[in-house]
Symmetry: C2
Subunit: 208 residues, 2 copies
């Protein structure tokens, strides 16, 4: 791994992370475009001007949050799509994995869903680029399945995009259901499973 950081740099990264965490919490009930720099520093307990040591603006902070929220998710993709077992098994596993991820990182999921179409262009683009990377990775994994025999590259990417969008949509619905009843969460999972199953059936009968 990388060289051990000095006391100085370690403390800096600590407050930087504190800023990111505070921002993420504040963003639970507003959008990035209304997030104030002073609001964030106040929540952390540092002077407003300290913000500039880490980010040029809240827009920059947002881009960093995209990295934090989605950057660590790539290994999960491969594991899920390329998992052993039949189609039904993979789907069930995927839905469970989404549910679990939403429960352990609700603020991250909320942020991505909110800012994907949000009011800050650079953040939108950062999210779009990450999601395109996801789709590309899903495509590569899908290509390994025997069901993909005879599929064109474009069609595989089309299917991968559909899966990625569906996953995000499911995650967002599940997030809303977090504050509702256990039955509601169960219902969301069930519907999402059916929808992915339907897509998988469409996939099996695509050619010919």
């Amino acid at each position: 791994m990388s060289h051990t950081l000095g006391i100085r740099q370690a403390q800096k990264q600590k407050t930087r992370q504190a800023l990111l965490d505070a921002a993420l919490e504040l963003l639970e009930e507003q959008s990035l475009s209304s997030l104030g720099l002073r609001e964030v520093t106040r929540a952390v307990g540092v002077a407003p001007t300290a913000f500039y040591r880490h980010f040029r603006s809240t827009e920059d902070l947002g881009v960093a949050l995209v990295e934090e929220a989605l950057g660590s998710l790539h290994p999960m993709i491969g594991d899920t799509v390329s998992a052993a077992g039949d189609s039904a098994g993979r789907i069930e596993r995927a839905v469970d994995l989404i549910a679990h991820h939403v429960e352990s990182h609700p603020a991250h999921v909320r942020f991505i869903a909110r800012e994907r179409h949000g009011g800050v262009q650079r953040v939108r683009r950062a999210i779009r680029e990450q999601l395109e990377r996801f789709a590309e990775e899903v495509k590569v994994e899908l290509a390994k399945h025997p069901e993909s025999r005879g599929w064109s590259d474009d069609d595989l990417l089309m299917l991968a995009g559909l899966y990625v969008d569906q996953m995000l949509m499911t995650a967002s619905l599940y997030l809303e259901a977090l504050e509702a009843s256990e039955e509601e969460r169960e219902r969301v999972s069930r519907v999402a499973t059916c929808q992915m199953r339907l897509i998988a059936i469409g996939r099996r009968n695509w050619l010919g």
Copy 2:
């Protein structure tokens, strides 16, 4: 129709509409949660206090915008889903209709896509309720198709929800492509058509 409005009420509705229009334009590069009341009145050219004659807050304005953006869309649903012709024809027609609607009401589409998961709870809920109404209507139309024989009510609603989400996603992608090249718009339409076709195939092979 309703009674003809007096000069007084007519003028009021005129400035009210001016406020809505100005807000919609300002929301092209920010989110509702950062939209200021003064900002809107300034764009219209009226005193800030005039705002209160029409809305209690920008949040209220947002709810009114949801009505304006989605309320007039219901008749379109029925026409599209229940149109004559085979599945392929209906899909082509739907994609064309989406593209046309985005081109004629880009700000409306942007607003809905942005605020669906945005930072203002009441607006989110208003959008969700409208979309649920859409899904219900799509379900009713889908039920009339011969392909729906043997489908449960829940499964039909599941499919309808998938279609609605897919339509919104397509509209949002097409919106982004508006500022890009004609080829990009063409590509978005093509991919969306394929995805809906795949879903339709899944639908045909759902049972059994």
